[in-house]
Amino acid sequence: MKTDIYEKMEILSNSAKYDVSCSSSGVETNFKKGELGATHTSGICHSYTPDGRCISLLKVLLTNICIYDCAYCINRVSNDIQRAVFTPRELADITINFYKRNYIEGLFLSSGIVKTEDHTMTLILKALKILRHEYKFNGYIHVKLIPGSSMELVEQIVKLANRVSSNIELPSDKSLKLLAPNKTKEKVLQPLKYARDLSLEKNQKPIGMSTQLIIGATPESDKDILKLSSALYDKALLKRVYYSAYIPVNDDKNLPSIISKPPMLREHRLYQADWLLRFYDFTWNEIVNDEFPNLDEDLDPKAFWAINNLKYFPMEINTASKEELLRIPGIGARGVFKILKARRFKRLTFHDLKKLKISIKKAKYFITCDKEFQKEIPFYKENIRTALIKPEPKQIIQQPSLFDLSSITGEI
């Protein structure tokens, strides 16, 4: 059956949607006179889908035909679904036309495996060459490297792309063996290691790389996950790890069958923890340990760390160092920046923080401002915890009833 181009687009974008990564940031502007396209350092989200996720790149598969049979994947060979294929030229044309209309920042290209790994990578490379060489396109291109493809192909792709990635998907080898019998963690990370080594050899700034982990499909704890992410960041292998709440797409005896909703809160907490690793100088074992292998549901990871480490608090806003300020729950990098800027001119009080529009809803339990401090909640772990979780009391205004005589007679 022949599908028209609109159906094809819907099938192939639908097959790519479980890849969470859609960032177009972190590349310095690379505009060239007389050419098309430039990247934007902070990245740009051009639209948001009804699920609230950003659209920055044209995220599609070249094809959803695949020879593999991974249990968690919608495109596995044993699934009876509609299949479609873009030619490299078709895809390049659509990318250029979308870019000119300012729909996208560029292309996020992935693919199912057709015939062999190398054959698939060659098709991807062809699309990239048309874009970069023929159309002189300098926009953002993110390519999913195919595990098991040859080093020469990886090298050529790395030269043309802005970012490459390869998804580990499952946080342990045991789970991988169970659900994706054709993959191992080593095999998945192999092309990324190639890419890193290539740029190290040439003394270049390494290309940005990322991976994705599925959350909630297998029994790993948050500790296992964060330990893995942190190891990947430490080895300077990756710039980003993405977390994707598991959504059942296939029935498989090895997968949790009854999940009414994807574990979104857990995904959210993992991202918060991930930020602490990357921007707040936390180590994974400060956030999770054997006693608490999973992240707290009620408190964000920073607040959780703080109430378990009250010895560092309360902190004096006017004297704490930048690193210390960053550890205060409820105060982020921007808030710290404002505090540092403002305290050069005067000693800050609670009123000053309010004027600077720094939220102290969470922070007030952990700070002193020029010796001022909050006095309602005693400085004990349990009291602060309750205060942080408890929602602000709503004022209930009772309307006196016409027939309620107690207000007149004073009866109770």
Binding site: M9, F31, E35, Y48, T49, P50, L58, F98, K100, R101
Partner: protein, 242 residues
Amino acid sequence: MILIYDNSFEGFLSLVYDVFYQKLKPLKIHKKLPNEMIFEEIHFIKTNEEKYTKVLKAIKSNFSKQSIEKILNIFMCDSKNFEMHLLEYIILGFKSKKELLNINNSCVFYLTNLEKELFKNVHKMYAFIRFEELEDCSLYGKLECKFNVVYFLAKHFLKRFNNQNFIIHDINRKLAFIKIDNNFSIQKVSDFEDPNYSQNEEKFQKLWKSFFKGVTIKERINLKLQQNQVPLIYRTYMSEFN
């Protein structure tokens, strides 16, 4: 006392001159005579070349590059009543350059936040302005925004569409940035007929909608979050929302 100036940058600099040398004590500054009754004394500022060049020269030699840029940026926030704060800021700058970095000062804080709001709007327009292809292959983008962002968008898209001809049209301010080959400028547009679109236009808008439909994950639908990210006000010219 209420001061009224002609809404131009030069007019505002003349106002600064008068306030400084005539020791005026304004309570409010308006762009035009307000409709409601006023019991205050009203003073009209005349834009005067000698005055504004003098003030501009003084600002250029006394203020840091960043502060000058901030003053210019604030002038793009034309839907806000920033004048009293800006006047205070400029007077403060002549007293002490260093004080302009003190965000504890209310006028510095106000202008810093307003500038941030401007850049937020600029960034949203980078993202949400849409171009359509015309018969002659040039690209035409319409926009409506509470601040005057055409200049910023022009700079941004000159990098991206360096080998294209394009127009960015601010519908409400009747301004357009037009680039044809190597010539470009911002022009006033009094009336504008809807142009003829290229044959491809419909096809790619339809493809874009197919893509938009395809990438949505139904299990995660969260329209409130979507609306936080793309408030309705930006959606007028975004085809995926129509």
